[in-house]
């Protein structure tokens, strides 16, 4: 059995097989050669894992982000943030951080933020004299905030895998996301002051009011999404559906950025992207089920207990594991396979599963821009035309900042849980 559930998946993964095929092959080999369970469970689990209303939020949030990304929404948010930032050192860099954080509250996909915000901000930073390594590192790293600030697709998947409430996870993600954004902004300001990079324009209330008026519809999206969820008006799935209608209305009717045809075109792109994710969700659920019926999580919990580790040490070990996995495997696959294994350990150690969900998300967010395989690196390379060595060098300080934030978020649970108390007090 350890061949089917351990050796085979690792070997096929290293051979570059598609992840869904790696999982499906391991499961089928285990069922055919090592177990006496009817193969019908294959269909039941493949179908059963997708037959879940909360998962609908995935295509809906992707669609809303896709529609917003095709119009002038990002540029309008940049204008508002830039006007609000005013004359601080490194104002363009701070604007990049602020815009990414707001865009993260609309979209749930990190790569989209890197591409959309990067197309506007990287050339602007280049013209303003920012070193190329700095702007490359900033835009690659800042996109990772997107999956920490709700709405977040990895949190929906974690919620499904850990049977945890998505609104609670979303509420818990707000402060850690803002903490990371604040750390990045402070670093940008320090760097700009040290390298003599000036501010753009001084703060002007009238300019801010003008930009806010132009961008009010764009800024309305996060208010509707998060306000609706935290106010108990919508479920996350309903909020995601409302976000789609709002995004179509704003980009087509209010701003007239895209023709009707492009609304259907964006839906096609979204559907294909969704199936890329959901086919992995389906196959990973069969794999997780197989791990559970073979009592792998129970054995793992027993082994960890026998080591008699303190909760803080367990969290340290899990952080290292998640960071390593996140460097090689995409966040959703990692969450689907690891969550059923880790949740019993976490519960056994008395760690809150919402807090742990945020720790998992931050770890895997780091994997999005961690060399050598972070997806944001390749997006920055292909969409923004940045060179790999430049990005790799530029990422280092931001990686250190994220790791510092991870330590804080891991060992101060209130950074996550205060959000739950604050936003979901009712």
């Amino acid at each position: 059995m350890s061949f089917a559930l351990g050796v085979l998946p690792v070997a096929l993964l290293l051979l570059g097989f598609p992840i869904f095929l790696v999982l499906l092959a391991s499961v089928t080999v285990a069922l055919v050669f090592f177990m006496s369970i009817p193969l019908t469970v294959l269909h039941q689990n493949l179908y059963g894992s997708i037959d879940a209303f909360p998962l609908l939020a995935i295509p809906f949030f992707i669609y809303a982000g896709e529609l917003m990304g095709r119009g002038s929404v990002a540029q309008r948010i940049v204008d508002v943030v830039q006007a609000g930032v005013g004359k601080v050192p490194g104002s363009l860099g701070v604007t990049t951080v602020g815009t990414s954080a707001i865009f993260g509250a609309i979209s749930g996909a990190s790569a989209a933020t890197v591409a959309t915000v990067g197309r506007i901000m990287v050339p602007a930073m280049r013209r303003a004299g920012y070193p190329e390594t700095f702007s490359a590192g900033l835009i690659t790293a800042v996109g990772a905030i997107d999956i920490i600030i709700p709405p977040s697709i990895p949190m929906i998947v974690y919620g499904a895998a850990a049977q945890e409430s998505v609104p609670r996870l979303y509420a818990a993600g707000v402060l850690p996301g803002l903490l990371i954004a604040a750390l990045l902004a402070l670093y940008v300001m320090w760097f700009a002051r040290r390298h003599g990079i000036g501010a753009t324009e001084s703060f002007d209330l009238r300019r801010l009011a003008r930009s806010a008026a132009r961008g009010v519809w764009a800024l309305g999206a996060p208010v509707i999404i998060l306000g609706g969820i935290y106010g108990g008006v919508f479920s996350p799935t309903e909020a995601a559906g409302i976000a789609c209608v709002y995004a179509a209305f704003v980009t087509r009717v209010v701003y007239r950025d895209i023709p009707w045809r492009e609304i259907l075109d964006a839906a096609g792109t979204t559907a294909i992207f969704t199936s890329q994710i959901l086919i992995i969700v389906a196959c990973a659920s069969v794999f997780s089920w197989l791990l559970t019926v073979n009592q792998v999580p129970a054995a793992l919990v027993g082994w960890i207990r026998s080591l008699e580790l303190a909760p803080w040490m367990i969290l340290a070990v899990l952080n290292v594991l998640l960071l390593v996995v996140g460097c090689f495997v995409d966040p959703l696959s990692a969450i689907l396979v690891l969550t059923p294994l880790l949740i019993p350990i976490v519960k056994g150690a008395g760690i809150d599963t919402v807090h742990f969900g945020i720790v998992v998300t931050v770890n895997l967010a780091i994997g999005l821009f961690h060399p050598p395989f972070g997806i944001n690196i390749f997006v920055a390379q292909s969409v923004l035309g940045l060179k790999l060595p430049v990005i790799y060098r530029g990422i280092v300080p931001f990686l250190v900042l994220y790791l510092g934030a991870l330590v804080l978020i891991t060992y101060v649970p209130d950074i996550s849980l205060a959000g739950v108390r604050l936003f979901l007090a009712h």
């Binding site: 096929l12 993964l13 179908y47 609908l56 995601a240 839906a267 294909i272 890329q276």
Partner: protein, 152 residues
């Protein structure tokens, strides 16, 4: 010729799935509006949305397979010599074909059972064979694409 046909087919599937997503969004919106504005629930709306997503997931997977857009970790394979890379790709196509056939075989049996007992969804009253058939059709197309890749 065959490749052109599959290319056209996948394009039509993409359009159909786009329409399915838009319908799901409209149903979702109608549900919320129905609840808050008219005080009535759109019966079966949640179920139909889920069934549309199931079709998007499995039929879309066939399109993703044809376009070779599945998520994978292929950086290591890039360092292999060309003949080894070709052998690995052939092995992948064989595994894909065999495994997709296994799923189709199992799934078709399940769908036949659903049809035999005429099982219907609780709220919308839709035959449950319809959403379950998404797994069969999706993996059938994946098997055919894998076979085409093997013949090439």
């Amino acid at each position: 010729m065959i490749d052109r046909f599959i290319e056209r087919l996948t394009r039509w599937i993409e359009i159909a799935l786009a329409a399915a997503l838009v319908i799901a969004v409209i149903l979702n919106f109608a549900s919320v509006v129905g609840r808050y504005v008219f005080g009535v629930a759109v019966v079966g709306s949640d179920e139909v949305q889920i069934f549309l997503m199931v079709w998007i997931a499995f039929l879309g997977a066939a399109v993703v397979t044809w376009r070779e857009q599945h998520l994978r970790m292929d950086v290591l394979v890039g360092f292999f010599p060309n003949p080894v890379q070709k052998a690995v790709r052939a092995g992948e196509a064989i595994a894909l074909f065999v495994l997709a056939c296994v799923v189709v075989w199992q799934s078709a049996g399940f769908v036949r059972q659903m049809m035999a007992v005429d099982r219907r969804s609780d709220a919308a009253g839709m035959p449950m064979a319809v959403p379950h058939a998404a797994v069969t059709v999706g993996f059938l197309l994946i098997a055919l694409i894998a076979l085409r890749r093997l013949r090439r």
